[in-house]
Symmetry: C2
Subunit: 305 residues, 2 copies
């Protein structure tokens, strides 16, 4: 099966700590490498975890708080210095183009590769990327400044026919595509084998990235039933007032969203620097939604069917 | 004696490596904490080496190549988030103000403290900071884009009279200041003790920071005789052509500047990512100027009299 793997490069909120970097994630779907947010020192994290960053062709920036993009200029510069010529697609707040171009101008840097800007339109469920295997849509979040989450989905996969099935029924090669697309098969003896007996179908998998946001049920429709939901949980529930004030969420709120959206698995992250230990946050989230994980630097999760 | 200590936070050139961060240094002179350049992840380095960054009141940025300032926005943001209210003096290329303000605007951040900008005038030996113990001047460098080094000097110190001397000659308290300022002393017995026998004088110490620059003897006059010279040595001498082309220096060039400026000690740094081991660079520099050190992350040097 094709890869669908998420690697956490940073999971802290605004102020990094000595053990946690600001937000960045790498998502590999079928060897497309999507970088999601790019906090300071993301290029150092990519090196640390031995991820070749020239493989990244698509970068998604949720919003312009520094803990989500201050590492971008350094990464773009290093890509240039290491000889990149491939185009880079950047899905981001419209103002980021001005910020990047101003800095390139004053450093007299002329990138050897082209950046293709895809400015956010701040429409929910907006299709912003599509190829034959993957599509990406926006998830409109509710934060102090305009902010977009992202929904990554596999395209429906061709169904799989096992070698054994082909041999058992002696299916000719020229009929395989039709069967994968839903056709039944009639054996030489004239027996009709229904399609469901021939193929294995996989539901397309999906990953929703929701950071930063206050508790807002308007996202439920778009993220409904995803295989993995990342939802920020900056605070524990005793800091509910602080969460509201700063347009962030608590563990209980993240877990409530997961429960109401009927997702398969929840990952929490974007932890406030005040939390040295993360287990209490996990326990609190699990009290509402059992299948919860902690985002932890360097950890990878395979998104399951 | 008062402190005069340099701590290296990063010593790599443009592309960081997994073991070396881009340029940043902390200089402590008499409990004034000067941050010199601020490459990406400087705030993380400050935390790693347990340096309280709210003690930093003066930041010096040499030029607008990213490896010298991409960590600044993150540091300024963290200072804000952690409640800084003290003014911060920023000595920098004039264009940096626009870069900072654009990013603050788009993140809707209103800093709780004031940044006082001191834009470079690109005049050599320009006095840009002075208080009763320290002065800082520019060193005009020769790089691809406008670039200033910095010369940090102690003010002449009050001379020291030891307790033993005071007791031996029975010097009354009220005469001590005059003696420190150069007066002789006449004992009760009428014997004249010349000032030179009473006091120990210390030459003021100095540190010159020269990065990035090609080999340029025009800096010799300003940095003449400093106690410690940091001079970039991006390349070994077999890459002389590459050094010229990129307006950087080689080990031999850095050491030749140290020799011609008759400095006490040389520190080289800003190493190209191609060098995994630094000993060969040190050996090459020492072949011209024996008293040479390597800049190494986390290492501190006491600038000696």
């Amino acid at each position: 099966m094709q890869n669908f793997e998420l690697t956490i490069l940073g999971c802290s909120s605004a102020t990094p700590t000595s053990s946690r970097n600001p937000t960045a994630q790498l998502l590999n779907i079928a060897e497309r490498f999507f970088l999601i947010d790019c906090g300071e020192a993301t290029q150092i994290q990519l090196r640390k975890y031995k991820i070749k960053f020239q493989k990244i062709n698509h970068i998604f920036i949720s919003h312009l708080h520094g803990d989500h993009y201050f590492g971008l200029m350094g990464l773009l510069s290093s890509m240039h210095l290491l000889g990149r010529t491939n185009e880079l697609d950047l899905y981001c707040p419209p103002e980021l183009q001005e910020i990047i171009e101003l800095q390139l101008k004053h450093s007299q840097t002329y990138l050897k590769y082209k950046i293709i800007y895809h400015p956010h339109r701040y429409i929910d469920n907006d299709l912003i990327f599509e190829d034959k295997k993957v599509e990406v849509r926006t998830v409109l979040l509710n934060h102090r400044i305009p902010c977009c989450g992202f929904l990554f989905k596999e395209k429906p996969l061709l169904s799989n026919i096992s070698k054994d099935t082909i041999e058992d029924y002696q299916i000719p090669v020229e009929q395989i595509v039709a069967i994968k697309n839903g056709a039944d098969f009639t054996t030489k003896e004239g027996k009709l084998i229904p399609n469901a007996q021939l193929v294995t179908r996989f539901e397309p998998r999906s990953y929703a990235y929701c950071s930063d946001t206050c508790y807002d049920e308007r996202i439920l429709k778009t993220i409904q039933g995803v295989n993995l939901l990342y939802h920020e949980a900056t605070f524990m529930n005793d800091m509910l007032d602080r969460a509201k004030e700063t347009y962030h969420s608590t563990t209980i709120q993240a877990a409530t969203i997961a429960q109401k959206a009927q997702v398969r698995q929840l990952m929490i992250g974007h932890y406030s620097a005040r939390y040295k230990e993360l287990e209490p946050l996990l326990e609190e989230a699990k009290s509402v939604f059992e299948n919860t994980l902690l985002a932890e630097e360097g950890e990878s999760v395979n998104v399951a069917f």
